[in-house]
Point group: C2
Chain length 319, copies 2
């Protein structure tokens, strides 16, 4: 009897859900392809309505020029993968409000994928774990980047910092977030193709550099557990990837020096760019760094926009 | 007046000190050149007596055939480096009881270096930090291996797990130790030269493997902070170094399979070998694994000895 009432309530409630999934910064210098974190308040909003047809129809996308065809849309592909796996006898229509500029490098496609699977999870009787959701979210990412990776999807679902130690078996570890950690994002209006950013990387790296990067990531993880901002700053370095990718981003070294000399804890490329992130202790410092970098780029006749955000403990959520 | 009394007591007490520094396991699979941990009870004992001559004289070494000449002895070199840096107007005679077999790969030279600098630190008015001591300890290591490294010296001084995220600046991070973590060490009586073990490694490694190893080390560090034995086990893998070095150790794969199939959390080469370590949850499991591996090697006509020890939170100490 009790169970029936619950089921009834569940069915009543669950014809429509609106969710939010945040923008994210992947790589974070020391954690190429493994580390990421979530922003606060910036992200994609998505409304799903349950329909009898066992498929997904994207009815509208606000805020970005993206394909409505289910198979060409990250939310559609991620949602379909989950739908098919669960063998649901219903489907959804989806409306999307993109809050993340396309191609900005702060996990726009991952947020849409995360939102879709997180929303579907609200409808089913035995919800999947966030880690299971990340697996379907990754399927969506293939549309955007051609390969399955979860370093944006995971923090968009989990919030906070996430570490993916490996894909075989696939695992997501939620790491603690120092409470005063903010980020200044600067998004220069240039285009970097993820594919190009991948191809610029060497297939082989010096063992010494590999060990150095590994020590940095381990130090960074320790810093998160111990609220050690000084160690966080010393560890958040990139000796493997940024040295190759920085040529894709105008004024990278100047911006880096400006951020670090003015008190940012760390500076680097968000994902494969073009956005740049500066981790800062406190919101004021993050605002100052964002403003300084904005002026730097404007003085060089490059349009930018900026985001200042707490490194958020919160991932995807129902609105 | 109070200060004078203290100084007086200090001088009285400090004509002689006996210290102990533990054996250690470096690399620990996922942390090549960065990670190490200390054993309990197995290590070197050293007695220093203050003398007016501003030098170090090694008067006897029990338990191993090692050079007495100060400049050829790790304890001598480490101690001299500290003596000269501090510009002390006195010196020491040293007697050493080696509790660690030479060339076994569990940090024998590092324990002697650590003991020497830790002992000297007891005599001086403003003792150095353990991290500062590690810098002088490293000087001793050059005698044994030809290069300055601290992945054995650091855990021998600090105890527990230590991480060295980098040498520039040099930094040691003390990591927490899960309370049920034990290690079974098996020491096959073969010789591996550290130099040879270094030369067998490639100068370059695939970026993919570097990222995988890095994710493993980060996962391992997270596991230590969260007492997560399952994650510890999944992360404690070596895709960079052991695949090259295992050819130096007879029956490596058989021993590894035996350890892991019988419930060891992790199995690998201690430092550059020939000792092999198996991390285990609980002392009973560690004893079982040690016994099984011993029989395996004996059946293959190779002499071995074994140690079963808690992963110790305690580093160098005054006896």
């Amino acid at each position: 009897m009790y169970v029936q009432v619950l089921t009834f309530l569940n069915e009543e409630k669950m014809n429509k859900v609106t969710v939010f999934a945040p923008a994210t910064v992947a790589n974070v210098n020391c954690g190429f392809d493994t580390l990421g974190f979530a922003l606060e308040g910036v992200g994609d909003e998505m409304t799903l309505i349950k329909v009898p047809e066992k498929t997904i129809t994207i009815t509208s996308i606000d805020g970005a020029d993206l394909p409505l065809e289910t198979e060409k849309n990250v939310a559609g592909v991620a949602g379909l993968a989950m739908l098919n796996h669960l063998k649901l006898d219903y489907g959804f229509t989806i409306t999307i409000k993109k809050g993340i500029p396309i191609g900005s490098g702060i996990g726009g496609s991952a947020a849409s994928a995360a939102a879709a699977v997180f929303a579907i999870n609200q409808f089913i009787d035995q919800p999947l774990s966030l880690q299971q959701l990340a697996v379907f979210g990754m399927k969506g990412e293939t549309v955007a980047s051609g390969s399955e990776h979860a370093d944006n999807v995971a923090p968009s679902l989990f919030g906070g910092f996430t570490l993916i130690p490996g894909y075989n078996p696939f695992e997501v570890i939620a790491l603690p977030v120092p409470s005063e950690l903010f980020v200044a994002i600067i998004h220069p209006h240039i285009e970097i193709k993820t594919k190009e950013a991948r191809e610029i990387l060497p297939k082989e790296v010096p063992l010494k550099k590999a060990i150095e990067q590994s020590g940095n990531l381990a130090g960074f993880v320790s810093a998160l557990y111990t609220d050690n901002y000084a160690l966080l700053s010393r560890s958040c370095k990139d000796v493997l990837v940024a040295p190759h990718r920085k040529q894709l981003i105008p004024h990278f070294d100047t911006a880096k020096n400006m951020a670090l000399n003015n008190g940012a804890l760390a500076f680097g490329i968000s994902g494969s760019g073009p956005s740049l992130f500066s981790l800062c202790r406190g919101e004021l410092k993050a605002k100052e760094i964002a403003e300084k970098l904005k002026i730097l780029y404007q003085n060089n006749n490059l349009e930018v926009d900026t985001i200042v955000s707490k490194v958020s403990e919160h991932g995807a959520r129902v609105l």
